[in-house]
Amino acid sequence: MQTRTTAEPLIRVERLKKYFPVRKGLFFQRARSFVHAVDDVSFEIRPGETFGLVGESGCGKTTTGKLLVKLLEPTDGRIWIRDLRQVSFVVQQDGLPLGAVGLRVDEEGKPVQVARVLSAPGANAEELDRHARRLLTRLAGRRGALGPVPTDVDVDGQRLSLTPLSQFRSQFRLQAVPAGDRERWERWLRQTQDLEYVDVARLSGPPLKAFRREVQMIFQDPYESLNPRMTIFDIVAEPLAVQKIGTITERELRVAEMLELVGLTPPESFLFRYPHELSGGQRQRVAIARAMIINPRFIVADEPTSMLDVSIRTGVMKLMMELQQEFGISYLYITHDLAVARYMCERIAVMYLGKIVEMGPTEEVIQNPLHPYTKALIDAVPVPDPTYKREPVELKGDVPSPLDPPPRCRFYDRCPIATERCAREDHPPLEDKGGGHYVACYEV
């Protein structure tokens, strides 16, 4: 896992906001108030990682999940997904960066088109453009033309060195740049990041369809997430059908393989049955098979085990982890159950009223919670051990309404350690307290 977490993130969520208007008014249905379901949330999910979103009902965790799979459109903020249909690198000549180039690749990884160029500060934009087109002709048709390591290429007698973008960024030292130019370089570096990522909000048409292939979702209620009028085959094959992949017999074979993979054996006895003939655990396995059938890179799992019985729940959790190991999928695991999150997630974020109040490696957050809300949440979880005596949680009141919250710490009304500052100032920002353990609290 350690090797994965150092990789560039697969999903980057930046200052994500989702406000739901509450319609009021007699004559004109004007929206006067907003439910701040997700309010300025930022996090990253790395390839092959399970990232947990934990919180009580109404904290915005499900809304966040739906935003990530584009079931909802964000009010503000960005969701970036790493674009695998593009390779990006920095072109350097004599150790001097000319700029960044993004080449679009086809399904086999062969470059087919110059997607974007971004000339470095002070470099000649036209020259970079020319280089990019020549590079494309040199590299076109070569599968995996650009590996993860820097390569040198001769173009018209000029020797250009190509460095993968992420590697360039991690190696580049701003200090090496003259102080007066630093601001321009910094801005350029930030812009290069967008080269590798696609803004989910702007997707439409064929790229959206491609996005739908890479991102899937598993829902909480296995009784409701499968259409009762469709057979298991139709349900699992639906992603293939809407993406027009394969013939019907090919799809049938593929569905059978998938069912076997999720432990529904023999598959032919499940293919043409209706969801109501299956138990809850089996249904959730069908939902998993359906999500996995088009090889997604990223799956949002919205409380996939909360409706299942304990003895069945473990099996489904283990299945999800096995599939992750096998296919290198990333999960956004949404749950209200910290104990489950502890077993499933490498990192978790605790949400409260649309805000992330604490985020970090799971064990670290659970063993050493810093935010008073996280502490209360962990203290309130019953322990399956009669000898363990918990102290009752002393937290004032109920969760307040997310309707137009006042501009102060969201937890202020119930916080045992709140001070005057918490009321005066805006909601505290997430700050790194070391080791990737972020907390949003003035008093920690």
Partner: protein, 377 residues
């Protein structure tokens, strides 16, 4: 796709998967069998089905009888123009030959006292049905049921059973056609307005409000006075009016509850288009309810036709409603006259009632399958 396909295990050799179409056929058969079982248990559904089958046979019987038993006497048994000279015959000799009430003074008036009838009255209370006796076109009064005329004849001497059987076909046609139009419109409008919401939804819902409160019969009376409404146009008008009316509201609320269920979101995440979601997810889940409402709409269409015919608004030659209307204008329905010639309106009235009730019974039987809330236990 940029991600390589996962190394999936191949199924062992010799394992055959069932062809999808065959499996679907099997499921359909099983589903129908299961539904039939539940329908049968509702007890009320099969009762309705039995009545419908009876009238279906009656409708089929008419052309068959016309071609066989009645073939030689088509003029006698024609539901619209036929009359039986054996029953009413006001010949020139002046002897009234009627199986109804020979010698009854209800039937003729001897105006000039020559012992021969000058006017023939078909109605019991003196509604003039025929001109002078010399007119060979005159028709006589209603004859009671006999072997020759199982349900007797109407005031014009036409065979009531033939009329009844002939009309059954028209009733089925009208009811099913109107209900089909209603259900197709209702389902589509409901699915679309629930799915898209916004202006489309507001428009259709306000329209449904208007239609719902529309006094349909009153409206059709007004409409019928302006246009010649025949069976086809009536079916279309009724179908369209009902299609935009109450059924839309019911189906839309159902469609709304389907729309928010997670499988619709799952389809969206899989990349399903709006069309795909409406056609594959919303409409299939609406169809059972649509089918149920279709049954109720058959009832309402048949009933509307009967009522409009009773008012003489429609341009239809023969139907159960018209049979009752004719009995009424001949005065056989009012007051004490109702016992004089029961056969000319009773079979038609009871048929309207029974066939309407039968479709309603079937609807209620289906209700027990479609609405789990009504299921026993």
């Amino acid at each position: 796709m940029a991600v390589p396909a996962p190394p999936l295990k191949k199924p062992p050799k010799g394992r055959h998967l069932e062809a999808p179409w065959r499996a679907r056929l099997r499921l359909l058969r099983r589903g129908l069998a299961g539904s039939w079982g539940m329908f049968w248990e509702s007890r009320i559904g099969p009762l309705g089905l039995f009545i419908i089958a009876f009238y279906g046979l009656l409708a089929l019987a008419h052309p068959i009888l016309m071609a066989t038993v009645w073939a030689d006497e088509r003029d006698v048994y024609d539901p619209k123009h036929g009359y039986d000279p054996q029953i009413i015959y006001g010949g020139f000799d002046g002897r009234l030959q009627s199986t109804v009430a020979p010698g009854s003074d209800d039937y003729y008036v001897d105006a000039n006292g020559d012992g021969r009838p000058d006017y023939i009255y078909a109605g019991w209370d003196g509604v003039l049905q025929s001109k002078a006796v010399g007119d060979d076109k005159y028709r006589g009064g209603p004859a009671p049921p006999s072997l020759r005329h199982w349900l007797g004849t109407d005031p014009w001497g036409r065979d009531v059973f033939s009329q009844l059987a002939f009309s059954a076909r028209a009733e089925f046609f009208l009811g099913v056609m109107a209900a089909l139009i209603t259900v197709v419109i209702g389902t589509l409008v409901a699915a679309i307005s629930a799915y898209y919401g916004g202006f489309v939804d507001t428009f259709f819902m306000r329209l449904a409000d208007v239609v719902l409160l529309f006094p349909v019969i009153a409206f059709l009376i007004v409409l019928g006075s302006m246009f010649q409404l025949n069976l086809y146009s009536l079916a279309v008008v009724l179908g369209v009016i009902n299609g935009f009316g109450g059924i839309t509201i019911v189906l839309k609320s159902q469609a709304l509850s389907i729309k928010v269920r997670p499988f619709v979101e799952a389809a969206k995440v899989a990349g399903g288009s709006h069309m795909h979601i409406i056609v594959r997810h919303i409409i299939p889940n609406l169809l059972p309810l649509s089918f149920l409402y279709m049954m109720f709409n058959v009832t309402s269409a048949i009933f509307s036709e009967a009522v409009l015919s009773f008012f003489g608004i429609l341009n239809i030659d023969m139907s159960w409603g018209i049979m009752v209307q004719m009995a009424n204008i001949a005065g056989y329905l009012q007051g004490g006259a109702i016992t004089k010639a029961w056969w000319i309106f009773f079979p038609a009235s009871i048929s309207i009632t029974l066939l309407c009730a039968a479709f309603y019974f079937v609807g209620r039987g289906l209700d027990e399958i479609v609405n789990p809330r009504l299921r026993k236990v």
